[in-house]
Amino acid sequence: MSIGKVLANRSFCVGLIVTSLIALVALLSFVWTPYPVGAFDIAGKLKPPSAAHWLGTDHFGRDILSMIMVGSRNSIAVASVSVAIGAGIGVPLGLWGAATGGFVDEVLMRFNDLVFAFPALLSAVMITAVFGPGAINAIIAIGIFNIPVFARVARAAALSLWSREFVIAAGAIGKSPARITRDHILPNLASLLIVQATIQFSLGILAEAGLSYVGLGSQPPMPSWGRMLFEAQTMIGLAPHMALFPGLAIVITVLGLNLLGDGLRDVLDPRFQ
């Protein structure tokens, strides 16, 4: 696969650029934001975008650009850790099920179905309601509901690989199922899992925004896109920019990640070539 072919995939390129920009903004926010993020200026509240405040100020007079920049950190952290939890637990479970089959497989998949049967966001609300709101609990809640997604993708793809000749051949020369999984199954699944991780990442960002919107995500003073939207909702008549910019931040990030995921699938998945 040549670099030229990869770059010819437009959705991959656009997605990559958008995603990298957001990652850069998040990194930049560690060293620089236009204003300190905890700086209240009640007298200068609800100001529309201007040269001093590029995206305007919120109901406490805080700079919205600074809050979105720092908020991106929060979104990315929650989404990436929850994807890591989902993949870290889900993929081994799926591979184990595919490798052993029979009763173990059956139990694993029914357990998956059980977790899957609850709408993810609703269950996340339940978990944070029990253990209290906060970024950590949001991560755990979203992470748990990534597990069955990864387990299913890994198992389905692994099952089809197990009937392929090169895998049967590896079995014939005496390799154990665990080694076959490591040496032959997992490398052939990697592209699929990367695509899935990208998609789950964007869903994670949405879920985090949803949880903070209902007050169960990270707590003030840590800015969060979802909570910014919540705070904006009663001010929409007074200061529409307060809802517009965090909303746009979520849309652009999720769109960028989805484009990247689509592009990656086109580029990596042999079935699409």
């Binding site: 209240f40 009640i42 007298a43 707590q219 001010m235 008549g237």
Partner: protein
Amino acid sequence: MKSWKLAVACVAISLVMSSASYAAKTDLVLGIVLEPPHLDPTAGAAAAIDEIVYANIFEGLTRIGPKGNVLPALAESWTQSDDGKVYTFKLHKDVKFHDGTAFDADDVKFSLDRARGDKSTNAQKGLFSAIDTVNVVDPLTVKVALKQPSGDFLYNMGWGDAVIVAPESAGTNKDKPVGTGPFKFDSWAKGSQIVITKNADYWGKPALLDKATFRVIPDPAAATAALLAGDVQAFPVFPSYETISQFQADPRFKVVIGTTEGETVLGMNNKKPPFDNPKVRQAITHAIDRKSLIDGAMFGFGTPIGSFFPPHHPAYIDLTAETAYDPELAKKLMAEAGHPDGFKTTLKLPPPTYARRGGEIIAAELREIGIEAEIIPVEWAQWLDQVFKNKDYDMTIVSHTEPNDLNIFSRDDYYFNYDSPAFKDLIKQIDATSDGAERTGLYQQAQKLLAKDVPAAFLFQLPKTGIWDAKIEGLWENGPIQANDLTSVKWLD
């Protein structure tokens, strides 16, 4: 052709229908933020109970009028003995409870004895503490003897907690309230609305509305939408301060900003270090800028207070200067208290906007003097359990909306854990004084003592932000007591 005729018919019908609605309406939908846990005002502290039943369904011997004055209610008149210790109430005749049973002096004795009895679940038992005996003279006369003269007695009898209930229905008032008022309970769809209808057999001036619906709308954004859409026609305590200006500019609505008895405070746990040190509490009060708090959290609605007393009360003195915003002084006090680098603590916030938004501002201001206050949002049930009952908190923000509640700082087992013999003594003197000028002097001493000791940081007086249809008349402008008295509310044509 046929469809054309149909269209004409439709227009004609709709014209007839709409002209019918030109007659003054007799039903009203009011928005309320909190749903009451039940509807018995003699068995619960929740303001939401009184906001529905007070003066509408239940009445007491006296009642509190729109200006906070004491008016006769079930007691037509009363006399006081010369030593001030015996009140003789003359009751209205021909008064009936909603279930048809007659009201007489026995019901008064029953209600007062029940409220102050050992098994009483009354949330304000203190209101009845002055009563020694209640005696029925004849069916329309009751003599109440007090242990000592009490300046507040008639006022206390006007509280929602002191309403008169019948022995037949006292046990079931929580779900099916039966009172003597101009409205009777109709239905309660839990989580949605409570309906009351006009009591045709009312003893006094009948209500002008036929039906009133209290709709529960906890979300400020939904409250705004419901008012704009006409789903609710009145919001006596509107929760979304930022949209008030929008309603002020709209001729369809009347916006009435009145006063309430809601002293909003930053409560501190006075027995828990480091808040047991008065210097720390003083530092915190000096770190808070009341103006930015009112502008930021309340969009300018609210009056700063420097002590625990409502600004519209004649005995009020402005003590905000005593604890003015002064971060340098606050830092100095922190250093004197042995916390030059500040400390970590928590701030538990109940759901109302004033608390959640105010809490963010206060937490940011406290960071300036080194105090890292972690914000913990809690629901009302958790707040009542953790903060109010079990005193498991460091700091909290809440508005005390009961009238005449200066004495909460003298209570032994109250959540502030403030224990000042000097203050308790002042409250005792106030209780025993009926002379106006003398009371004013004592009230002012008490205010000054609180402003010096700062058992809590006194923030602002909660406004009553009423918004209703411009054609509605008779709703209260101020909130001297937790009530939505609908007895004289009507629609103008």
